[in-house]
């Protein structure tokens, strides 16, 4: 009794849907949705990162990107990873050095952790050398010339990520 009623309702709904749409239009919309959802995160435009909760502008594959203000090394974003995650097969070093950068999108300063990704041959793309508040190597905890592949299985340097750790005061 219930199954007959259910069959009838489902059949009626399906026929109504078929009258209003064609298979071609459905497939077209599905294709647009899938393609759009794949491409959207790659666009180098202003974006709100839910995980880190901030708005950013620029191209993460460019040395000029705001987060890289003190990065010496190659950008993981150009090497199969992202600005804040290592490429597959590379291990993030737990130890890092931390600087501050100014985000032009919201005018705030942020703490940026420059973690090296280790265990693969060096990535040769997008080498950057920016030195805001960088110090000489005899001040190792504040030098971006140090390779930070410590605490990892391999000390081989691959590339560097720039993860936001939180808000910072404007440097004096």
């Amino acid at each position: 009794m219930i199954s007959n009623w259910l069959d009838e309702r489902v059949g009626r709904g399906t026929r109504a849907l078929a009258r209003r749409t064609s298979r071609r239009s459905f497939l077209g919309r599905l294709g647009s949705l899938l393609a759009g959802s794949t491409v959207l995160p790659l666009l180098p435009v202003a974006r709100a990162l839910a995980a880190e909760g901030l708005t950013e502008v620029g191209d993460p594959e460019s040395c000029d990107y705001w987060r890289y203000c003190a990065l010496g090394g190659t950008l993981c974003a150009c090497c199969g990873g992202t600005m804040s995650s290592c490429p597959p097969g590379a291990e993030p070093s737990p130890i890092t050095w931390v600087g501050t950068c100014h985000n032009p999108a919201d005018g705030q300063h942020y703490l940026i952790a420059y973690n090296d990704c280790c265990g693969k041959a060096p990535c040769e793309r997008c080498f950057c050398h920016r030195t805001e508040r960088d110090k000489p190597v005899y001040f190792p905890s504040k030098s971006n010339d140090i390779l930070w592949c410590f605490g990892t299985k391999s000390h081989a340097y691959h590339c560097t990520v720039a993860a936001v750790q939180g808000r910072a005061e404007a440097p004096s």
Binding site: I95, V98, L111, S141
Partner: protein, 135 residues
Amino acid sequence: MRWLPALLLACSAAGASADDARARMHYLLHCGGCHLPDGRGVPPEVPSLRGDPGRLAAYPDGRRYLARIPGASQAPLSDAELTAVLNWVLTEFNADTLPADHEPLTVDEVASARRDALADPARERRAIWERHSLD
């Protein structure tokens, strides 16, 4: 005027919270890169800041040691900023091991200790750990 004490208390709490946030920011900027944001470190290369600093705070030479270690004494922070960071580390990561009668480090004792550089930090560490039977 009955609300005045409550207002003063709220302002005081907000000030303490802002001081904590600033100390945490300095910790992340100058210490957390190696000791990690939660202070657990990467032993044996980078010691944990959870546990032992609270035990050291029970002894005068232990309190000085906290400000004498190179990472602290050479941090590009003023004496007051370094004192705030060390006190934040003690209360944030070491609440379980701090002595019951613990008094926060003062700016004067940190200023004096950080200028008394450790010539051999590893040897000093072994000596102080043995002296106070720390693990």
